[in-house]
Structures are given as structure tokens and as C-alpha cells.
């Protein structure tokens, strides 16, 4: 499934981030492919906030549509 389809509070594993620069930036933030995070907040039709440990990242809707995740 896509990151966009997550519901609040769900834990997930990142499967793939297609964009090169976004992937590099995500790894710096601590969100490499294969890592586990929680969907913290969904702004209606807007960005999605995910959290890993204490790190919170905001992803625009377009990005959330492109990132492949799986529920755990």
C-alpha cells in the first residue's frame, strides 16, 4: 500500500521511496527503506506526519502517494 492510505496511529515499514533526492533526505532523517515508523497525523487532503522514535517528518501529499509501505 501507499503511505497516503495509512490511518492515524498505524505502524508501517517503508518499502520503497522512488525519488533519489527524497530517498537520500529520508535516510538522513532516519527513515531509510526497511525502517519502521508510525503515522502520527493526517492533515485532510494535505500532508502526512510520520514519527520514528522522536523524529517527526512531514511529507506532502504527492510524496505520500509515491512511497510504498506495508503495515506491521
Amino acid at each position: 500500500m501507499k503511505l497516503e492510505n495509512l490511518r492515524r496511529g498505524q505502524s508501517f515499514r517503508i518499502i520503497s521511496i522512488p525519488d533519489d533526492i527524497v530517498r537520500a533526505q529520508a535516510i538522513r532523517f532516519g527513515l531509510a527503506e526497511g525502517e519502521i515508523a508510525v503515522c502520527e497525523e493526517i492533515i485532510p487532503a494535505g500532508p502526512i506526519v510520520i514519527k520514528k522514535n522522536r523524529q517527526e517528518i512531514v511529507l506532502g501529499r504527492g510524496l505520500a502517494k509515491s512511497i510504498q509501505v506495508e503495515l506491521i
Binding site: R23, A26, G30, G46, P47, R54, Q55, I57, R61
Partner: protein, 656 residues
Amino acid sequence: MAHCHDTGLKLAIPENVKKIVLAGNPNTGKSVFFNYLTGLYVDVSNYPGTTLEISHGKMDEDVIIDTPGVYGLSSFNDEEKIARDIIINADIVLNVVDAVHLERDLFLTQQIIDTGVPVVVALNMVDEAKRQGIEIDYQALSSLLGVPVIPTVAIKGQGLEKVKNTLHSATKGRITPGLKKSLTDLINRVGSQGEALLVLEGDEVVASRHGILPGKERDKVYMERRKRVNEITAEVLKEVRQGASFATTLGRLMIKPVTGIPILALALWLMYKAIGVFVAQDIVGITEETIMIGMYEPAIKGLISKYVTLDSILGQFLAGEFGILTMAPTYLLGLLMPLVVGFYFFLALFEDSGYLPRIATLTDRVLSSLGLNGRAVIPMILGFGCVTMATIVTRILGSDRERRIAIFLLGLTIPCSAQLGVIVGLLAGVGIKLTIMYIVVIFSMLVAAGTILNAILPGKSTDLLIDLPPLRIPRLANVLKKTGVKSYGFLKEAAPLFALGAIIITGLQVTGTLEVIQNLLAPITVGWLGLPKEAATAFVMGIVRRDFGAAGLTSLSLTSMQTVVALITITLFVPCIASIMVLFKERSKKEAAIIWSASLVVAFIAGGTVARLANIFSTGNEVNIFAVTIAFVLLSIGAIAVTKISRKKLFSTFRV
């Protein structure tokens, strides 16, 4: 070997002096270290080709150089490029790490260690980490990284002296496992481990400096490094407890639309009270009226009249109505500077408290329908201060496409503080219904212009990808320093533009061109906008200074509807001459010319449309304002729809 190890900063640093570079993620408290280490004597230089100011100062015999906060070293944006060049050429790096975000911050730490530069780590904000239930074994961290680690609470001065004394014991740390082999080959070709690492990680800029192709190992190196950092973190970090604090709850409320919008409204209202009322009226009253017009201008005119008569052409250029030594400094220093300082102060406050990224999150949805993303909220807010400043700040946006859209919207629809003051004054006289109509019309234009540009411009805008730092109470000293540095940067960049603007306008005036333009505009003013001929003067004066334009309307006897039509036109009309200058400086000549003429045309179309609608929806002397407003909104929606449909058609024709 050839000299390619240039930090970009033109600093005269003698051979025996060590370059100590401060590095860290954004908001780790680097500046406190910088201030402590350098004391009072700090130089700020502009990094070539960017707006970024780099501070540097002296510590005993050594030079301390600050770098922009970044999450990693590469060429993704200006901040990173600068930090990268300064760091890989450092003798010693003092890496400031946020103890609360160890897992994130250590990525940069490990990357710096991988460049082979000697490092000292300051593990900052250990008190806050402790409060949040995080315990870090800093001795274990030190032996895992292979560099000295000093726990600090910088804002309370704890650990700073120890950091200073440890700087010269900086060591080259333990590089990411598996990296050594790939690096050794490259080091022989490019000369330094730092550059070799960046080439390996696919940094195109560094690779092209050495005339070689960038490596394709970024993913692999990044993953290895991330793995290593996660292992280190797991080993040294102990979480005692994790409870939701008040800051966490407030932070969440700030990004949910239901609560976030009222909070944002409150913040903007406070900002308006502080800047729109206190600064714009009380402070500017002193700086513009008393100091600049009351004291400075007579003095400078007196001085100049000793050498040239003020009526002569040279006198006009120097000290005339739009003189380079009279209007330009009065406008820039007396009126704009206090407002710019006010805006930068609030921006720094929002930034340091961690509120800014939350505003970006909240507004991302709306802005992305205009082809922008949440980050664009920064230039948009600043635009209400000064469009010239905001246009410069659009450099922070992720793509050229976004800059194009943002610059157009700023020039077209955002009234700057100078103009806003006069507009508010004039609107006070026309009543609430027409005021609402004015706001709705301008807002519709913003939405329509943004949506249409987003639909017709090729390419795709970038998505929001930011981290949410914890909410913190900002430190006043830091906020003031940021405000000072940014305001000074604006002044340095804008002063020549305002001077050039003054020269052009005086040139137009003494040659009589200003009058010719006014006469040329007259038919449109009378025939299309339904305004008296003299209103054309106000429009042209609006180019000189946006507030002149609006102020020029006060002397005309206009009906309420005419006033609003004129205000709408003037708001949308070309920005002031300084922002036209900055437009031409920031964009290609062709694009600037298109943006400029497009905003002219759009302004007259919108103003005229309102005038026409007012004619249609009037019975006798009564104008149905509600109907005019609704009709305008519907026309805007129609324009958006037509663009989108015709674009689809265009695409399907191409496909066939």
C-alpha cells in the same frame, strides 16, 4: 596539485592559523557556541552567489567559521553546498549535536567523520534530553565514534569551556565500515578524503570540479551509514520514559486545521498588532517623519545646495522629489527598514520556536493547489512586509517553477506594508461591504492566478519534506541576532536597487516621460475603469513607491465604488520600482518582462471587470455589492475552469 580546495569564502587566512568550523543540523544551538568562542568581533560575509550570510570570527590565533544548519553534505540546496565546501576544507570541525535527536543528528556527524576531518562533538541540550527521559552514555558514544564528545547545555553555559579546551584534541573518527576500500582509490584521483567521499556519494558539483563522473554509490553509502548510526544510537541511548508534554500537545494542535487555523490567525493578529500598528505607525512616525523628512532631508538638501542648485538636473537627481539622496534613503531607511526588521523579528521568532515548520505543514494543502508547497508560506508572509524582500527570499523554494509562481503572485496580489497602510486608511471610508468585496476580489485573484499558473506551467512542483523540531521557547538573543543579520542583508541587497529606482524615476520626470505615460494611461483609466483622468497619476506614482500610488487617490473625489476599483487596480498593478529591479535581477530579462507586463494587464482587467459588474448590478444609484462580489468570484472560477479544460484539450491534441 591544482588549487581546488576553495571554501568559496574569500577570507585571508594565514597558513599557520587553524580553520575551526562549526557544523550541525538546524536548531541545535550552534550559534551559542559561535558567540562563546568568538566573543564580540564577528564578521559576516555573503557567500558568493547566494543570500546566505556566513559568520566568522577569531578565537585566539584561530579562525572560527559558522555554517548553515544542514542534515547532510551534498548539493541538494545552497545551504548544503556551502556547508559542504567549508567543512571539507576545515582543519577542525566542532559538530553540535542535539541530544534529543541523536538518531537524526549523528548521520551528519558520521558523514563529517567519513570526510576524514578531525572532529569534536558537543552533545548539546542534555538537560532537555534528560527531562524527556533520554539518557546518553557519552563516553561510549565517544569511543564508538572515535572522537571526543562533550555533553553541554550551551544556553546555560555548561560545558562550553571544556569544548573550547578540547578543540585542539580533535581526532579523525572511525569511518563507516566498508567505506575505506572504495575511498582509497578515489583519494588518489581527487586528492582529499572529503572530496573523494562526496564524489563517491554522487555529488555532481564536486565531481565536475575534478572533471570526473559522479559516483553511483550514494544509496549504498547512505544505507551503511544509517545502519551504523542506528547501531551506535541503540548502544548509547537509554529511554527511561516517554510522556506527552505540553509542547507535544500544542505542537499537534498547531498542525490540525480545526485548531491550527485559529492559532495561526491569533499569531498573525499579534503580528499585525505589533508590526501594522506599533511599528508602522509609532516607529515609522519617528523614523520617517521626524528623522528622515524632518531632520535628514533638510540637512542633505542644504549640503547639496552649496555645490549644485537643487532645480538643476543634477540637483533633481540628487535631492529632488525622487532624489537618490532624498526619496531613496527616506523610503528605505525611514519607512521600509523598521517594517523589515519587524517582519524578520517575527520570522525568527516563528523559526526558533519551531512554529514555522508547523505553519508550513498547515498551509501546505492550500499552497500546493497554487503550485507551491508549505515552504512558500515564508515569502508569502514576508510579502506583506516588503515584496522586494519576499522576492529575494523565494530563493528558498525547491524548484524554479515554484519561484516563478511565487514571484508572480507576490508581485500581483500581495500588498506590501507601505501600501497596506494607505489601503486600510482608504477602505475605512468605504464601509464594511466594499471592504469585504476588496478582500474577496484580491483573494480570488491570488487563487485564480496561482491555480492557472500551476495548470499551464510545464513540470511539477516539489513536495513538502521537512522535519518537525520540538517546540521550544526561543532565546531572545538568538532571535535578535538573526533579525539583525537578515535585516542588514536586506539593506545591503536592496539599497542599490532603490537608488537605481530613484534615478530611473527622476529620469522619467525630468524628460517629461512620466507625464506622457500618465496621458497614455488616461483613456484606460477613464473609459475602462470609469475613474477620473487624474487617477492615472496615482497608478504611475504607484510604480515609484507603492504607497504613493494609493495615497494619490486620497486627493481625488471618488465614489466609494470608484475608490475600491482604483484600490483593486493599484494593489494588482505593478509592484514598486525596487521590486521590478529585483525581479529583473532574479529572473531572466524575458521572464521578468513577461511577469511585469502580465501583472499590468491582469490589474486592469480585474479593476475594469469590477467596474463593469458594478454598472450591470446597479439600480439607480444603488450598486448591489453582494452581486458584484459573487459575480467576480464566479468569473475567477470560470477562468480557472476554462484554462484547465483547454489545457486538457491541448494535451489530447498533442497525444493524437
